[in-house]
Symmetry: D2
Subunit: 363 residues, 4 copies
């Protein structure tokens, strides 16, 4: 369904910008995991607005509460409900929206779909909805790290025309990513990106960007042929994040320009088991992980909410000039980093559990 994701580790999220709370119910989390609010809060803090000058000025503490599913800091196996209250709502900021659909925002499409004009326009298309994603993804990531040694690290690799240099996928850490508020591990390029974002913010404009992500320690054998190939679920997961426009696994669109003899990843021995010498496949072959690092990229469009005047029409069709007043991010990618990590964790944990269900019969 619309707000559900996963087959065995399944989440159901709720909440929009102007209701009492946002959150998520996690069904299927295994029992016995040590879990408290702090495990979840860190990623919410990386996602929340107002964390730096590069993001929206909207301030929300975004403190998470565990409502159910744990006792004495241990998961019971029952559903885990997580809630974050909405504190800073200010629906007044969106005053014109009842008569004017904002260009490239979801006001018009939500009205077409639901026949309702909510005060937040496309309420569930708001970045605020991603709190449930990030909170549940933090639980999934903890499980993966502690039980399987899987690590997921995303970073900003592009903002407007600027592209970060290559990273060492085998060693990059979250600390390196968070060295600057752009979450770009290439400090020199990060500085260029920062200048661009600050100047666009001042100009009432915005810019797109790219988030890259690696997943280390993925066991071989994950992914469910044919419609739930590992890359297919990752693609769905990433394109479900607001403002995304593209997804590449491994070689991506560049792979479309290569020949087979260039693109194929020959097998070699690594530490006593089979690995590949190159990794154009992105750690996945035939929809199933091969034990190499899974790596992918996600394109984000520039935020639609800009304060520059825009020539458009209102719902009646009258030409008007729109000058939006709502607070907004000039560039979403720094805040998107924990969201990409969360969605990746939700995909992998579900695939791990599905493969484990099979294992009992294979021995």
């Amino acid at each position: 369904m619309s707000s559900h994701f996963g087959t065995l580790f399944r989440i159901a999220t709720f909440g929009e910008s102007h209701c009492k709370a946002v959150g998520v119910v996690i069904d299927g989390c295994p029992p016995g995991l040590h879990l408290n609010e702090a495990d979840i809060q860190r990623q919410l803090d990386r996602r929340r607005p107002g964390q730096s000058k590069l993001t929206t000025d909207r301030q929300e503490g975004d403190l998470v509460t565990i409502l159910s599913g744990t006792e004495n800091g241990i998961t019971l196996g029952s559903p885990i409900a997580l809630k974050v209250d909405n504190l800073d709502q200010r629906p007044g900021d969106y005053g014109d929206m009842t008569s004017i659909p904002r260009p490239s925002h979801a006001d018009y499409t939500y009205l077409a779909k639901y026949g309702i004009k909510a005060s937040s326009g496309g309420g569930r298309s708001s970045a605020r909805e991603t709190i449930g994603t990030v909170a549940s993804g933090a639980v999934a990531a903890k499980l993966l790290r502690e039980k399987f040694g899987v690590e997921i690290i995303a970073w900003v690799s592009g903002v407007g025309p600027y592209e970060a240099g290559p990273v060492d996928q085998a060693t990059i850490t979250s600390a390196q990513v968070d060295q600057n508020d752009l979450r770009c591990p290439d400090p020199a390029v990060a500085e260029q990106m920062r200048s661009l974002v600050v100047s666009l913010k001042e100009a009432g404009n915005s810019t797109g960007g790219v988030v890259s992500c690696i997943i280390r320690g993925v066991p071989a054998g994950l992914g469910e042929p044919v419609y739930e190939k590992l890359e297919a679920k990752l693609a769905q997961a990433m394109l479900a994040i607001p403002a995304t426009k593209g997804f590449e696994i491994g070689s991506g669109f560049a792979g479309a320009k290569m020949t087979g003899s260039e693109h194929n990843d020959p097998f070699v021995m690594k530490d006593g088991h089979l690995g590949t010498a190159t990794n154009h496949s992105g750690g996945i072959q035939g929809g199933i992980s091969n034990g190499e690092i899974v790596h992918f990229r996600v394109a984000f469009k520039p935020p639609a909410t800009i304060s520059q005047p825009q020539q458009t029409v209102n719902y009646k069709g009258d030409s008007i000039t729109l000058e939006a007043k709502g607070r907004h991010d000039p560039c979403v990618v720094p805040r998107a980093v924990p969201i990409v990590e969360a969605m990746a964790a939700l995909v992998i944990i579900d695939m791990v559990m599905r493969q484990e269900a099979r294992r009992a019969f294979c021995s």
Copy 2:
């Protein structure tokens, strides 16, 4: 599940290269549709191997039989089972595979996942599995065309370094696409692509490519926030096709380099209703269709099966030189065109039905 796709119009596919038959069961197809084998066969013919010199020499008639779900050429509302027999199996062609995992093929990952070495290696990762996709997609496409006026047209827009010029999305037809066996509506570029493919085939090599697709007539309001946004399901659907490495909706990765004032699609009046002046959004905003043409691109890697010698290791880890003998396609994109169309149709029909379920309550 692995072989299922869709919520209300749901398919379950079956079959690998070396079994008796491949096919699909369609559950949820509405009653009253005129349907016979010919409606399905056309797309299978566009998909089948051996249709031109650009494809594998493996010859299969791929004739479809409707086993259930229709009477007197009309759908009953009950499951529609479609079957295509496997005629040309030749498992002998894959002789070395029991000891050598082919680079960038799914032999190794299927073994890791299932613990079984099938004679076809990664059986379900075979292009042959896509017969079920194409057959069920043809049913979905017919429903969409006849009941909602939706048209889906894909074409080859890139092969190796060659890119087709822009097409008129409002008027392009399937006949234009099929003018040449590359399925590229730009004849001059198609000729360059053809030369490349022929020369690579002779050299025992292969190339990647790009398929573009448009969907015309999509009603506004389709897509289910948040994890089943329209672009998220399209992304999953496309990355579930064998050999795909990337997906772009609307502006795609180019959008990541734009500013908001460039990227936003202002509203204008079109024939008495709201439309957009540009379409960087690709017909989708906030995960929901806006009534404009949906357009997207899919990257395909070069086929992994090449006959050039490859330096790799066998399952024991011994270095060997692999010279594959199986028949193969030097470039999959011409045959991928109907597969992309099928997956698109399966996504749209399901979203249409889900939106219709809501409609009864909105009036």
Copy 3:
């Protein structure tokens, strides 16, 4: 999944006895429904403990809060999160449970399943979990009543050896059911039941019972062959309620003793459309509603928690005499009435929406 129910109107419940809150997320509720807390509270009040001398002394206000999904008292189409805080937890009451599995309770099986001894034993098997069911069922029931004229009425038809006389299915009302705290519309039998329940409560014992239910105004055509026949989903729904042991649709087990000529329901004309003269079918034929009143019965076992001494063994296997101290209901059926109604509403609303999805194609 375990805590999910429904395909298009889908709920995900959470919470156990000793956590902060219990509740539910409803996904897929159509937009435009007038909904506030009072619409939900009435059924929660009928379910809550401590409402009469016939129920447990545990007192909980069970006040519901709508966290999301509505604005100005109207549903938006987005997920509706409902929450009830846990106030009266007293985990101390269950002191012995860490060493002794209570007979016919879920302590032992939850430990076998999850490997965890929660302070509430089988936390999710608690009647408290049914709050989410009842709350979401109230929303479904309102939709059904307002948009389709469907009415759902359950009542107590048996307690121990006592059976209520027949009711007029066409006219029975909720007010008649609530005339006494047993929720049995046969006042004379209700008095006998009451005496039995009171005497068993004093004796530290408990009794089973039967809840009957009718659904009026079900449109013909609901139910999804074959595994989601209308009676199949009702059976699942009812056996998902704690303490249930049996389900009968229409003639039920009595039907197994009849001949076809007795059991068949001949067609007759009713108000210008086809109906049936008798209704042994219970309003369903071949898994699909026929427009007659749907009627069914649900058996509930006596509550397992009794304060009489019981001879059993502890986890180590030592024979012991258990004298339970927790508060409990001597008979659950009066409080089960709104739960049965809720589950019935959840089944019907989902089937209505699934049938509506088909309708667009049938005209």
Copy 4:
């Protein structure tokens, strides 16, 4: 969806009486199981019509073919498609049905649902559809038997007024059940049942009956709270079988008349682990198996198709006397035995796999 069952071991069935074939696709069957047609055929032979004088005279060989998913008699982990051709169709037998809905048959409800009059009336409500169930259930049963030592045995325990005496649940075998063509392990009562059935067949009438079933060797811990409790899924599974009217787990409706002190199952030590002295719970507590024998009963109504004249109305509402000519069973329960076993196996295998997915995290 309508024709799907299961979460990890998932089936999709297809086919009605008058199409080319009926069958099933099994998705999620683990790899490595030895499987050939004979493993499946035995249960189909117990289900097929014409096997004795007690059943319909319609003769079908019902030979199954494995279309995919195995190689050299071993399952690959990929979908297993099973097909049985329809040989003996005789649509002419149902001649009057286009104008007259047969009482208590599904002609009317299928028309209401789908708006189509198929030549078989309610095609998917036909007993013939159960072939897919039985075939896939045979695969599930083999897996359960070989990998987990689970045994499933059903038998006829009631026909009309006759009830079989108690069986020894710990030792009853399939061979004992098949000693007579009624599949009733109580020979004396079986003889009475047989006389009744034969006389009703001659009289053009039919009778209902009851099938009982036990499942031995179920590991403790199966069942998914709350809506997929083990008994809830069994109830759905059984009520999905054509002609069923009731389901009882353990004490069933009799349990509703007992007190808690009578009904509770005290724990005792059995072979070094905890068991229960009695089994009113039917092997399930709080929705989760406790390691005891799971036992339940299923009520079947008398077949609706009788050849005695029936007073009814046609679609126009004109009173008519219907004299059905189609071949039919005077009593379905002997043929229902393998269907009940199949549905039970499908429920248990899915629950086993879901529990195994959790196990990896619990150690």
